[in-house]
């Protein structure tokens, strides 16, 4: 299988000389769920946001869709972003718009400005949106305002919005950190299901190691801006976790 995403020597310095990402090189298969774990501030979120260029990398290559997207600008960058769906920790829905409008905003990379303003999306997009609503378990909520939903419901909308883009890659930045344990499991299951159904890789940032073990096919452990573990969940022993997070008392 050729890789869906390759990172080569990815570096990010927010402050000159202080590397948050210290030369990350990784390859991701076109299927399966990868969980990125590590202590707060170690660059997990930065890593994900460099991929869709919400954060500008300082150096390195991001090979996606057959080309390096790191230096892209303007229209080319937007076309690359259309292919990458992102789910956020705080859902990042447009609170005042309805669920349907939030879903359709996933298509904003394809719809011209005046049509978007008038809410004239192609019928097939609207049909797909309704189908997706059913799939994520939010049937009947199409006209509810986003701020009237619970956290779990909002994240489902967030996932559906990302899927509306028909992406080749799904990124999730701590998607369950604001959710209760049961809802977290449901959301992880939904993302894994989406990845399988659309045959796209899913890369998830998370804090919950047990959740990562349960759902991910591959775990990447980061510490100090570097990858210190890269393998199957079974390889995630206590010693490895100590290397990643430091300290012992939290393990027992």
């Amino acid at each position: 299988m050729s890789a869906a995403l390759i990172l080569r020597g990815l570096v990010k310095e927010y402050v000159r000389g202080k590397r948050v990402l210290d030369g990350i090189s990784l390859a991701f298969d076109p299927a399966g769920m990868t969980a990125v774990i590590g202590p707060s501030g170690t660059g997990k979120s930065t890593l994900l946001r460099c991929v869709n260029r919400l954060v500008e990398p300082t150096a390195g290559e991001i090979i996606f869709g057959g080309r390096d997207i790191a230096p892209l600008k303007g229209r080319a960058l937007r076309e690359a972003r259309r292919q990458i769906g992102m789910v956020f920790q705080e859902y990042n829905l447009v609170e005042r718009l309805t669920v349907m409008e939030n879903l359709l905003s996933g298509r904003l990379g394809y719809v011209p400005a005046h049509k978007a303003w008038l809410r004239r999306f192609p019928q097939e997009d609207v049909d797909r949106a309704f189908a997706l609503l059913d799939q994520v378990g939010l049937t009947g909520l199409a006209n509810q305002r986003a701020d009237a939903l619970s956290g779990g419901q909002r994240q489902r909308v967030g996932i559906a919005r990302a899927v509306m883009q028909n992406p080749k890659l799904l990124l999730a930045d701590e998607p369950t950190s604001s959710l209760d344990p049961k809802t977290s499991v449901e959301i992880m299951a939904l993302m894994r299901e989406v990845g399988r159904q659309h045959s796209i890789p899913v890369i998830v940032n998370m804090h919950d190691v047990e959740l990562a073990r349960r759902f991910a096919d591959r775990i990447i452990g980061m510490s100090g801006g570097r990858v210190v573990f890269d393998g199957a969940p079974v390889g995630l022993t206590d010693d490895v976790l100590k290397t990643i997070y430091g300290g012992e008392s939290w393990l027992h």
């Binding site: 292919q83 992102m86 956020f88 409008e101 904003l108 990379g109």
Partner: protein
């Protein structure tokens, strides 16, 4: 840290010395300024007496020139509504350009400078300039009030945009949406309600200002009022003032209706 645990260190809510000094200085200045402005008690009493006589001549109100009054009122209304529409339309892009959290410095600084400049002058002063430029009449009045509207709405709109949650904007950007779509879906829903509030406030303000620009020849009821005043037709003046009050109240109802249409709770704005 030791100070926290002793009794002496535990005084709360003590007013600062500098605040007290400030108040005293302010009181001293007020007294001094009153003295300089020839504000004396006898003058005040005479003024009250003159005021009472003047007021008596205004009653009963008499519509001396109905045509002139009606024409003046309609012109004021037209000036106010046209100036508000044009001003609102212009202040949208200008306010957007002035938002520092969305725009690069080369866009936001000129926009902010423009807004600051338009806010510096009272509408009447701007009206004088417009009368010089485009001649007497309603066009000058509209121009003056457009300038004022852009300044007011533009500033508040820019500030409202600077307070939005950028998370929503980030999510829309991440879908590959072009700039205008990011604005329409990520920014506008967050500020549209407040924008409508500013716009209706400015409509009301323009109604009041439109009665005034006529005094310098820029159209509207102000001209009628001023000439009635100069002819000592005080009862006509009273009639004009009452009709202005009526017009403003109509404007209030209109503004409330607009707010009701656009800001219905729970309803999506553009539906």
């Amino acid at each position: 840290m030791a100070a926290l645990s002793t009794a002496a260190g535990r005084v709360a809510l003590r007013p600062s010395v500098w605040a007290r000094v400030g108040w005293v200085l302010l009181a001293v200045y007020v007294v001094y300024a009153l003295g300089r402005l020839d504000f004396s008690w006898p003058r005040f009493v005479t003024g009250l007496d003159n005021g009472a006589r003047f007021f008596a001549r205004m009653l009963p109100p008499r519509v001396a020139q109905p045509d002139s009054l009606l024409q003046g009122l309609t012109e004021s209304l037209e000036i106010a509504i046209l100036a508000s529409c044009i001003g609102i339309l212009l202040s949208l892009p200008i306010g957007l350009l002035a938002a520092r959290n969305l725009m690069p410095a080369w866009a936001s600084w000129p926009a902010r400078a423009l807004i600051a400049a338009t806010r510096s002058f009272h509408p009447v002063i701007v009206a004088i300039i417009f009368v010089k430029a485009v001649g007497f009449g309603a066009l000058a009045g509209i121009g003056a009030l457009v300038v004022g509207s852009v300044g007011f709405i533009g500033k508040l709109f820019a500030e409202a945009i600077e307070e939005i949650s950028l998370k929503q904007v980030e999510a829309i950007r991440a879908t590959g949406a072009p700039f205008m779509n990011v604005i329409t879906y990520g920014v506008m829903p967050q500020v549209f309600g407040r924008f409508i509030g500013f716009a209706t406030y400015q409509l009301d303000s323009n109604l009041r200002n439109s009665t005034m620009v006529g005094i310098v020849g820029a159209g509207g009821i102000g001209g009628t009022l001023f000439s009635a005043f100069q002819r000592f037709d005080y009862d006509f003046v009273a009639a004009i003032l009452l009709s202005i009050i009526a017009m403003i109240m109509v404007g209030e109802v209109l503004a409330a209706w607009v707010r009701g249409v656009f800001l219905e709770k729970g309803k999506v704005e553009e539906e």
